[in-house]
Every structure is written in structure tokens, then in C-alpha cells.
């Protein structure tokens, strides 16, 4: 049956029966429809499940305020007797943790700033400016998503070794200056961006850079926020590359530093948990503040 035939009124249709079927279907939907069927019953599963998801973190915070003897007690203590802050003071005073934290801030902060500028410029160029080789370059950039870092890590180490950057923050910053994902995020944002505003700017005599800087970027704030949040979380949490590129304690990031707690502070669980809390706090803070953008970015990257 072609679509034209389908649009023809069907002869001999029993209107009453038809209406009855629709009514019955509506009732069925009200009873068992997708969005309507006693949705609140879901809480019975969702509530315990979501508590299980955050419980380890609650436990982490609680133990960070316990004394060592409280932690080692069998059966374990659930609530600390009083707020013992010895774990925090020992982590901050007698380990290199403050250095690590600062290093992580420097690396992640630089990564965010650099990616906001470089990824948005590149994304804008691919979306708007016609230049020789743009299609090939865009395809090559997207193809890098298929190259796992584990494949390139050994030569990357050798490259940074030759550059004399191993064991410096530079080795951590350079690979984070820009990213294929960031370029792609900005590229897809600028593709759906109204062209008229830029044209108006060009007619008013702005250069391309001025148009980009004064007209496009301020309007790209939602996309920039999403990119910044993703970049920060990724850069802050990275362990594999810093573990390889950095060998001296003063240059560690928090994640690498945290792993050294394992053997060294084996019995000092309050310090370990205090360090874990301090390491997790910044990303959780960024996530809680920018959650909406974060979710948009990860779902947007998938749909695109």
C-alpha cells in the first residue's frame, strides 16, 4: 500500500467501533502506560539503590574523622566518637599532599583555560571557515578517538623525555592543552549557531578574530561551561599518564600521590581517608555546581 492509498478514507469503517478502540486504548494507557503507571512505586527500588551508590563516600567521610583505633576495631565503628581531625592535619602537615594539590590545580586549571580557547577556536574554524584541508583534518582529528592512549604512551614518554619535560608539570599540561573531544563538542555547537550575528559583525567591519572574540564566544557560554567542566574532571582524575611522566614526590598530582599512601600509610587509615576526601572534594564540587551542563555534554557527545 502506498502512502497515498493509506491517506484515503477506508470504506465501510465502523466509526463507533473505532472510537471504542481508541477509548479502550486510552484507558489501558492510563492503567499501564509508559509514563503514567504508578511511577512513584519506583522509589522502592531507586531510593535504596541511590543510597548504595553514595554510601561508600559517606563511609569515606565518616572514617576520615575516626581515630586509627576506632577504624581497626572489630566490628567496625559506624559513627566516629567525636570529630577527630588528626587524619587531616597529618595529611596536610607531614606529607607532600599540599604540593600535590597545588600541582593538580595548576595542571587542571591550565588545561581548562587552554581547552576553552584552543578547542573553541578549532571548533569554530571547522564549523565556519572554509579552508584548504579542513575536511581531511577534521576526519583525522575524529579518527584519533580510535587510537587508545595505551598504544601511544611509550613513544609519548620518549617524546617528552627528548623534550626534557619528564618529571615536570609541562609533561602533564601539554597533552591536555586541547582535545579531539573538546574540538568536536565546540564544532557541533557552532554548527547549530545562527550565522546572521557573525555576518552582521563582519559587515560592521570587525575582523574574523574580533567577531569570534566579541560576538561568538560570549554567546557560546553554555558550551564553554560544559567543555570546562568535562576538562576539569578529566584532568583532575587522570592517573595513568602522571604516574608514568612524574617520578619525584614534589611534582606528583593528587591522584598519583594518593596511590603512594597505600603501602606507606598502611595502618594510618585516617590520613588515607582524609587524603581521599580532599582529592575527591574538588571534582564533586565542580560536578554538583555544573551538573546540568555536565549531563548535557556527555549526552550531547553521544548523540552527535
Amino acid at each position: 500500500m502506498t502512502s497515498e492509498q493509506a491517506l484515503q478514507p477506508v470504506p465501510d469503517i465502523d466509526i463507533a467501533l473505532h472510537r471504542a478502540r481508541i477509548k479502550e486504548a486510552e484507558q489501558r494507557m492510563r492503567r499501564s502506560g509508559w509514563r503514567r503507571r504508578m511511577p512513584q512505586r519506583g522509589h522502592l527500588i531507586l531510593m535504596p539503590l541511590s543510597i548504595i551508590m553514595v554510601l561508600p563516600f559517606v563511609w569515606m567521610v565518616l572514617t576520615s574523622f575516626m581515630t586509627n583505633s576506632e577504624i581497626n576495631r572489630i566490628p567496625p565503628t559506624i559513627l566516629p566518637h567525636h570529630l577527630y581531625t588528626g587524619g587531616y592535619s597529618s595529611v596536610l602537615a607531614s606529607s607532600d599532599f599540599p604540593y600535590w594539590f597545588l600541582n593538580s590545580l595548576i595542571v587542571s586549571g591550565t588545561a581548562v583555560l587552554a581547552q576553552l580557547v584552543l578547542c573553541s577556536m578549532a571548533g569554530y574554524a571547522f564549523a565556519r571557515i572554509q579552508f584548504r584541508g579542513s575536511t581531511v583534518m577534521l576526519i583525522l582529528l575524529l579518527a584519533t578517538a580510535l587510537i587508545p592512549f595505551q598504544l601511544t604512551v611509550i613513544p609519548t614518554f620518549l617524546i617528552f623525555h627528548k623534550l626534557g619535560l619528564i618529571n615536570t608539570l609541562g609533561a602533564l599540561i601539554v597533552p591536555q592543552l586541547t582535545s579531539a573531544l573538546g574540538i568536536y563538542l565546540m564544532y557541533s555547537f557552532f554548527q547549530s549557531f545562527p550565522r546572521e550575528l557573525e555576518e552582521a559583525g563582519r559587515i560592521d567591519g570587525c575582523s574574523r578574530l574580533q567577531v569570534f572574540w566579541k560576538i561568538v564566544l560570549p554567546l557560546a557560554r553554555p558550551a564553554l561551561a560544559a567543555l570546562g567542566i568535562i576538562t576539569f574532571i578529566y584532568a583532575w582524575n587522570d592517573l595513568f599518564w602522571p604516574l608514568i611522566a612524574i617520578t619525584s614526590s614534589h611534582t606528583f598530582t593528587v591522584q598519583v600521590g594518593l596511590t603512594t599512601f597505600q603501602g606507606e600509610h598502611e595502618t594510618q587509615w585516617p590520613s588515607v581517608m582524609a587524603g581521599t576526601v580532599l582529592t575527591t572534594a574538588p571534582v564533586l564540587l565542580v560536578f554538583l555546581v555544573g551538573q546540568r551542563r555536565f549531563v548535557q555534554a556527555i549526552t550531547g557527545a553521544v548523540k552527535g
Binding site: 539503590l49 553514595v54 582529528l141 587508545p148 586541547t178 592517573l239 604516574l243 594518593l258 549526552t299
Partner: protein, 306 residues
């Protein structure tokens, strides 16, 4: 005598000028990113290919030894173990991870209260770092004073070795990994479900479809592209499994949690057999590439845009 240029020449010159200025501006805007991203991916990729044909010890370049590394890895029991462990991890995690993610996404897709609260709770483990989470779960699953064993004890069940027991460690890691990735699967599925037009579901209902048949014949096929994406993403992610292993078991006990990437890392940066490590990395690369391309081709054939 200079001829007055005709209209076509003027237009051609103007076009050329615009194109040239576009070239310049385009490369000025995109150049730095292109240079860094391509330079830090394609050059090392080919370099790793060359390294895999040498006996490099990371410090010196080593000698060209042809395909000897590839010949050796065919009879490497550690590699076989790492491969088996990685696959086992995928089998343990992926089906449950996706099914549970879809299940919760369906619950959240209803007109339910507290949706923001739930989404936050589910995403927190995905956002926190694997290093912190590994340390945390090493503590929670500690055989002596961990809270899980205390709980088992309290209900009269025998204590378990968990991460220190070769037969349990990988399962515990799969559980922890599930916990970290759960929120991501939920959020992606939820976005896909919200994109299903209401009319489609209504049409299904008018055609007499019940709850289950709507789910199997309308919802599941509609979100298949997302399922394929999550499957490929999950597989690639499992193939890169490192952080949690490093912060909990370091591949032990008895290599029961040795994963491919952990093995590559050990080969290159602990045992200083960089050439051989590069060969293993290439095997990993081709395996994940084949999986990805197979999924893309499958998606394309089923008219799925990935």
C-alpha cells in the same frame, strides 16, 4: 597597455582572495589544536609500530629484531592471562551494566519525584577519580576490618578474602567497576528514552500493545543505536582498565586481576621491555579497532547513526 579587467576576472580574483584569507584564518584558528592532537597521536602511533619491531628497553632505542616480539607474544602465558581477565571483566560487567542502566533509566523516565536527587547520586561514582575509589574499596573490602566482612559476619556468613583471594578479586573489581559506570549508562539511556516521541508509544498502545510488548518491540529497537554505542564504549573502556587495578590489587593475587593495560604498563615502565610492550599494545589496538569497526558496520547496516 593595461586592460581594464572584465567582470569575470574581478570576481575570480575576489574569490581567490577570500579563499586565501579563509585558508590563513582557518589554519590560524585550528592549527595549534590540529598540531598538538595529531602530533601526539599519529606520530606516537607509528613510532609504537616501529618500537614493536625492536628490543628497545625504553632508555636506549634497541635493535631491529623484525617480528620476534609478535612471535614471542603468541606463547606468552601472562598475555593470555591478561586477555582472559580483560574479557572476563567485560562479560561480568557489560550485560548487567547495560541492563541495569536501562532499567533505572526507565524508572527515571516516568513522572517521578526526586529525579534530580537520584541522578546526582548515580553520577557521583562516575565523576570521582578511580584512584580515590580504588583506595576506598580496598578499605571497604579489607578482609580483616572492612565493613563488608563485618556485615557478612553479623548475618552469620563466612568472611571472604575479596581482593586478596585469587578467585574473588576480579569479581570484586567488576562490582566496583559497575558501581563507577552505572550512572553513565543510566544518563545515556535516559536521554535516549526521552527522545522517543510520545506518539510512537501512544500508537503502540492504540495498536493493542501491552507494557512488555511495547518495551520489546518499540523501546528496545528505537534505542538500539544507544545500546550499540554503550556496548562499544564499555568494551573500549574495559580494554583500558588500569586505574582500579593499580590502586587495589596491582594485578594480583597470582595475576588474577592482571589486565591488558596493566600488563603493558608493567612491561614498558617496570620491566623496561618497551619493544615487547609496544607489540602487546598493538595487539590491544587492533582488537579494539576490529570491535569498533564491526559495531559501526553493524550499526550502518541496520540504519543506525552512531
Amino acid at each position: 597597455m593595461a586592460a581594464i579587467p572584465d567582470e569575470a576576472t574581478v570576481a575570480r580574483d575576489a574569490n581567490r582572495r577570500i579563499r586565501r584569507s579563509g585558508n590563513l584564518a582557518g589554519w590560524a584558528f585550528a592549527g595549534p589544536s590540529v598540531f598538538i592532537v595529531l602530533g601526539l597521536s599519529f606520530i606516537p602511533m607509528f613510532w609504537a609500530g616501529y618500537l614493536s619491531l625492536t628490543n628497545s628497553d625504553l632508555v636506549s632505542g634497541g635493535h631491529f629484531i623484525g617480528f620476534a616480539n609478535y612471535a614471542a607474544l603468541r606463547s606468552d602465558p601472562m598475555l593470555r592471562q591478561a586477555f582472559t581477565n580483560t574479557l572476563l571483566l567485560a562479560v561480568l560487567y557489560l550485560p548487567i551494566g547495560l541492563a541495569a542502566g536501562l532499567g533505572v533509566a526507565i524508572m527515571l523516565n516516568q513522572k517521578i519525584k526526586l529525579i534530580g536527587f537520584y541522578r546526582t547520586c548515580f553520577l557521583v561514582p562516575f565523576v570521582a577519580s578511580a584512584a580515590a575509589e580504588g583506595l576506598l574499596f580496598g578499605f571497604i573490602f579489607d578482609p580483616d576490618f572492612g565493613i563488608v566482612n563485618a556485615g557478612l559476619n553479623a548475618v552469620g556468613l563466612p568472611r571472604q578474602g575479596f581482593l586478596q583471594d585469587p578467585s574473588e578479586a576480579l569479581v570484586v573489581l567488576a562490582i566496583v567497576y559497575f558501581w563507577t559506570q552505572f550512572g553513565f549508562n543510566i544518563v545515556i539511556y535516559l536521554a535516549a528514552l526521552q527522545d522517543i516521541p510520545k506518539e510512537v508509544l501512544e500508537a503502540a498502545s492504540i495498536d493493542g500493545a501491552g507494557k512488555w510488548s511495547t518495551f520489546w518491540h518499540v523501546v528496545v529497537p528505537t534505542i538500539r543505536p544507544v545500546t550499540i554505542f554503550l556496548l562499544v564504549w564499555g568494551l573500549i573502556d574495559v580494554f583500558q582498565f588500569f586505574d582500579l587495578v593499580y590502586t587495589t590489587t596491582k594485578g594480583g593475587p597470582l595475576n588474577s586481576t592482571l589486565t591488558l593495560v596493566y600488563y603493558i604498563w608493567e612491561l614498558a615502565f617496570n620491566f623496561f621491555t618497551a619493544g615487547y610492550g609496544a607489540a602487546v599494545a598493538y595487539v590491544l589496538f587492533f582488537t579494539s579497532l576490529i570491535v569498533t569497526i564491526a559495531a559501526l558496520v553493524y550499526g550502518r547496516r541496520n540504519r543506525v547513526a552512531l
